[in-house]
Amino acid sequence: MSSSPEPLVVVRGVSKRFTMHRDKSVKDRILYFRSRKQSRDDFWALTDVSFEVGLGETVGLIGHNGSGKSTLLKVIGGIVDPTTGSILRRGRVAALLELGAGFHPDLSGRDNVYLNAAILGMSSDQTDAVFDDIVEFSGIGEFIDSQVKFYSSGMYVRLAFAVAVHSDPDLLLVDEVLAVGDEPFQQKCMAKIRQFQREGRTIVLVSHSAEQVADVCSRTIVLDGGRVVHDGGVGEGIRVLREGYERDRIQAQEAAAAKLRPDEAVSLDAVRILDVTVAGADDRPVGSVPVERGSDLAITIHAEVRSPIDWIVGFTLESITGHMVYRLNSEGLGLDLPRAPGTYSVRFDLRDTNFGRDRLIVSAGATTLDGTTLDLLNPAATIDFREDPSGAGFMQFDTVGTVAPFAAP
């Protein structure tokens, strides 16, 4: 995809197999020597992964639990060797896979800073030069000379992060560690990451937070079952990830439904969402024409009830990066929907809309009264809006600015 002329990391056809032995002791190995082949389980954590990361790129690695993100990061970091394929890399790497991995609880913060810096490849002189900055950034203050085992977990993490970001890396590998620490420190971390971006350092970030990825990354790679299913834009990547979640949810639900006895099971295909239309005030579909501020919108969900059930239907508007902007359902409106089978149109009228994003994605869903999802249509439609000429945000307004001399009362 967006490979720059001089990539910093090249991943070529990397696969990683984990072999799980059930036998561990000598006794087991001798007793079951003949059947060793059967006592092994192979598990492919990564399958034929190839991509390049260019200089100065910030790549978000996303995927659900067990999709191979962390393994991929470890392979890039050289901690785990790939089974096949190769990794090429240049420059200095700092891996923030687990903060404080090299900390020794019995040593002082100061000793641990030097030790951790040495692990990250810094010499004593280089560490001396940034030592004060590290202490300053971590906010540890006078505790730097007490033993690390007396630190709170927040202090621990702060000190470790401070060392890593001061090790002057060309490539920073970050694995979900930014979620720890209090809010001011998280903001500090994000500010540091942005500074790294401005300086043209390359960052590969694993995160479960779509917002965080949308916030800092210029590109996402989505992994599913050890394969790359998307490599490119952030918004698109997050959508792919969400679709993956949705597919998993449906599978889980079907599996759960299969276990239930028929008489007590809620028939999960009792309601089908057929389609969603978005129309203007004149009842004409908006299509791809940008909607002007102040326009009325009508979102109509066509749904089919197949067997009698109490149900709720509604829609969600999301930005392309996955931020929820607005949500409305029939329950919120106090609308009772008919139980009887048939096809219905549920219309939601939104007067004087003033959404600020240039594009919103509409998804529609139907649930039972206790919230079990019956059907979901995502994405169901998109709505484009005329851009706000002056402001930016989720909303837009008719704005005027004036200036006048300030007279104190």
Partner: protein, 305 residues
């Protein structure tokens, strides 16, 4: 983005070619590459050694003295039980110095092997989370063992001076050779055993037992003369002398135990120097093989731990 575009001021550029990371398909990294990598991390090696030493004696009021108390207690036991009760001291002049010389060399060897064996396991946090050449961890235990050895060795020299027999004679040259021999062989075992211990935890228990056995397979608390009396120069004595650690201990005794070196009644094996040189060459080959084995095994450390 074109390659001719000039980056904005302050924008980072990375020079240098792409280099392959890790090894796929079980290929080990070459020994030369490994040595170069370890040299590049020598600062870390130093810090790991000092971490081990400092963390070990942190919060203990006697601190480093503890590393002396153990060999001194051993010395006392062997001096009384074997020297006086069993009467070994009658035929071995300066028995205390003799025993302490052997204990010092053996202590170095056994500490390298036993601490080295568990080194990867006890640093699993680091092995799993960051990439450093893994040979660093067994090597750091070698450094820690050498430090303890130096402390004991200083005591030994002090004891010879107090006894009025400082080791100022040409045979002193056996001392550095003994140390080198023990360190090389010990490091080789530490590398292989630490890697095997990751896959099979039984190794560390086995090593403890074997060290206990091999302690008695070297002339530490009895002299070589007893062995010669029993085996009468037969092939079994050659087998006994084929143990590089035995040679290192005899070499160190020749260097430090002046009372024995000057005593015509003591038995010293022939061609000691030649034997030690051969043992050194063999140990170097073993060390190289050990590094190859380690290199092959280390690829899966992170997932096996």
């Amino acid at each position: 983005m074109s390659s001719t575009a000039t980056p904005p001021p302050g924008y980072r550029t990375v020079n240098g070619p792409l280099e392959e990371v890790g090894r796929s398909g079980g290929r080990g990294r070459s020994t030369v590459a490994a040595v170069r990598e370890i040299l590049a991390h020598r600062e870390l090696l130093g810090r790991l050694v000092s971490r081990e030493l400092r963390a070990k004696y942190k919060n203990s009021s006697l601190g480093i003295l503890w590393s002396l108390i153990r060999p001194l207690a051993q010395l006392l036991i062997y001096y009384i039980a074997i020297g006086q009760f069993l009467g070994a001291a009658r035929s071995i002049p300066d028995f205390a110095i003799f025993v302490f010389t052997g204990l010092t060399v053996w202590g170095l060897y056994s500490e390298i092997v036993s601490a080295g064996t568990s080194s990867i396991l006890s640093n699993s946090g680091l092995v799993k989370k960051v990439y450093v050449p893994r040979e660093i961890f067994p090597l750091a235990t070698v450094g820690g063992a050498l430090f303890n050895f130096v402390v004991q060795f200083v005591i030994l020299i002090g004891a010879t001076i107090v006894a009025g027999k400082p080791p100022l004679h040409p045979a002193l040259l056996y001392a550095p050779m003994s140390v080198i021999l023990v360190v090389i062989l010990g490091t080789a075992f530490a590398l292989v055993l630490s890697a095997l211990n990751v896959y099979l935890r039984d190794v560390q228990h086995l090593v403890e037992i074997l060290l206990l056995v091999f302690f008695w397979a070297s002339p530490i608390v009895y002299s070589m003369g007893f062995v010669n009396n029993a085996l009468q120069g037969s092939w079994l004595e050659e087998v006994y002398l084929a143990n590089p650690v035995t040679l290192a201990i005899i070499g160190m005794q020749k260097a430090m135990w002046v009372a024995g070196t000057n005593d015509p009644a003591q038995y010293w094996p022939d061609y000691l120097l030649l034997r030690m040189v051969i043992a050194l060459v063999v140990s170097l080959v073993v060390l190289w093989v050990a590094q190859r084995v380690f290199s092959r095994l280390q690829g899966n450390f992170a997932q096996e731990l």
